[in-house]
Symmetry: C2
Subunit: 299 residues, 2 copies
């Protein structure tokens, strides 16, 4: 059975995995994302070492990366990170560097599209041809499955950057997005929570007013997607969602904002199975990278 | 060559057409949307009369209807209008009534998905596998093409009902949506313009402050879709877009709001070909209904 390499290239950490699937994980490592050359060298070293020790090839490598990415195969900068504010990483040819070093087929998608693919293949949205996977962590992003495939369109979704209502009297915090100020990510990311409240999200206790406000912003973003992509399920992952009170609040506020306009029992009578946690936990992204690698050979 | 029936069932008027395609229009009529039985009887009468006069069958009927609609083929209320606030039309089995009366295959989609299909097949988004068609008229809606097909997901897009920032100091108008108040449609539809400014959109002169405000709301909605669906082109149709100053303002404000975050030359260097008017004008919807009817027989 073929074995694949997968990388979840996140803005704060890299996860690397060798696996045939979620039931066949051969090796795994994680390390912080520092500057590009050192970080990619560490990933390359992990896969080299595994091949040497196992005396076995990797059939392909999948990468789920933070972005924005150039995913247009016809573009001269295909496989590059583009305009990220992350120091040093703008315009890095992440797919090209890994292909050159490992000499195997490499495919790239966003970290969140990878997670959406993994949850569709093996997790919380299995069998549903349309779904959205949100990660609400340091930053905010989302991957989209339509007709069983990750959606790209012109580029790929950048759902952290949608604009949502922001009541500056109730919440005078100006937002942290360097491009847009108070977009969704600017208001509701882990970074925003840390700066608004002076402590990281994981230290804000249940019942803290942060969570009502946070749930309201997430619900606004979800309502906008129910009215735009009309997904069959929404998965909410990422560090901020670890606060157990948050998911029920988001469900409640989403229903209240929709106000019975979208009359589908899937939503109105089943909100607990409509807005859910990932089943693959914090491995959604790296397992999605494995699934992307598999899909190269399926083509 | 086969000839099809098409109906654009709009909230204010019905357009009925018999055609083989946009170059082969055999008959057309339009009349106001009144109560359901009388309106559908008038449409049925038009097609009956054409068949009798032409001594020719209609191969199929396509309907592009206002909504929300139940488009789930597995649902007992498939083909019905669902929760519309339009008096008398909630829960009308529009596809079933027309199928029973005309005894031909009938297919139904939203009026805006139909328009998106027509512009994809014959108009402004021809050859682009991903696009959005907005109608900004009495109400606001949008149809979406992904991989060359109208997108449905759980239901279908209801993009008029996304929430966007609303600065109540600059614009104290509370919005007109009976479900959501100041959602996009509540703030920016023709109805909203009429009530905010005390005169219909078509009577507001160029240079009136209404247009700057309107362009800002439309740009917010477009930015949200660039960050969500990432379409390859956005088409803006509907009565409100008839004001010639509006489209250039929308393009300008969309670029300003994106603030170079989404680095695609398609947008940054080509906004005039990225956000465009429909090529089929006010026939997009009914021609889309013809295209939907054709697609039944392609299956």
């Amino acid at each position: 059975m073929a074995v694949y390499g997968g990388i979840e290239a996140g803005g704060t950490k890299f996860l690397c995995m060798v696996a045939g699937g979620p039931q066949d994980i051969r090796a795994e490592t994680r390390f912080p994302t520092t500057e590009p050359d050192a970080t990619l060298a560490r990933a390359i070293g992990f896969f080299h070492a595994w091949r040497q020790a196992a005396r076995q090839p990797l059939a392909a490598l999948g990468i789920g990366s933070f972005g924005p990415l150039d995913l247009n195969p016809a573009s001269p900068t295909y496989g590059h990170i583009t305009s990220t504010p992350k120091p040093g990483w703008a315009h890095v040819d992440i797919a090209g560097k890994l292909r050159a070093a490992l000499q195997i087929p490499v495919t790239l998608d966003t970290d969140v599209n990878a997670a959406a693919v993994a949850e569709y293949r093996w997790g919380a949205s299995q069998g549903l041809d349309s779904s959205i996977y949100f990660t609400i962590g340091t930053g905010i992003g989302a991957g989209v499955i339509i007709d069983g495939q990750p959606m790209h369109g012109l580029l790929h979704p950048e759902m952290g950057h949608i604009r949502i209502p922001h009541d500056r009297q109730a919440d005078p915090f100006p937002g942290v997005c360097p491009f847009h100020g108070d977009c969704f990510e600017g208001l509701a990311s882990g970074n925003a929570l840390r700066l608004r409240w002076g402590q990281p999200a994981e230290q804000l206790p249940p019942g803290h007013p942060a969570w009502e406000l946070e749930a309201g912003y997430i619900a606004l973003a979800l309502v906008n997607q129910v009215c735009s992509l009309s997904p069959k399920r929404i998965i909410l992952g990422g560090g901020v969602m670890q606060q157990a009170d948050l998911l029920p609040l988001v469900r409640q506020k989403t229903l209240r904002l929709l106000n019975n306009y979208v009359q589908s029992p899937t939503i109105t009578a089943g909100i607990e199975t409509y807005i859910v946690s990932p089943l693959l936990g914090n491995r959604s992204g790296v397992l999605g990278a494995i699934a992307l690698a598999q899909s190269i050979l399926d083509c």
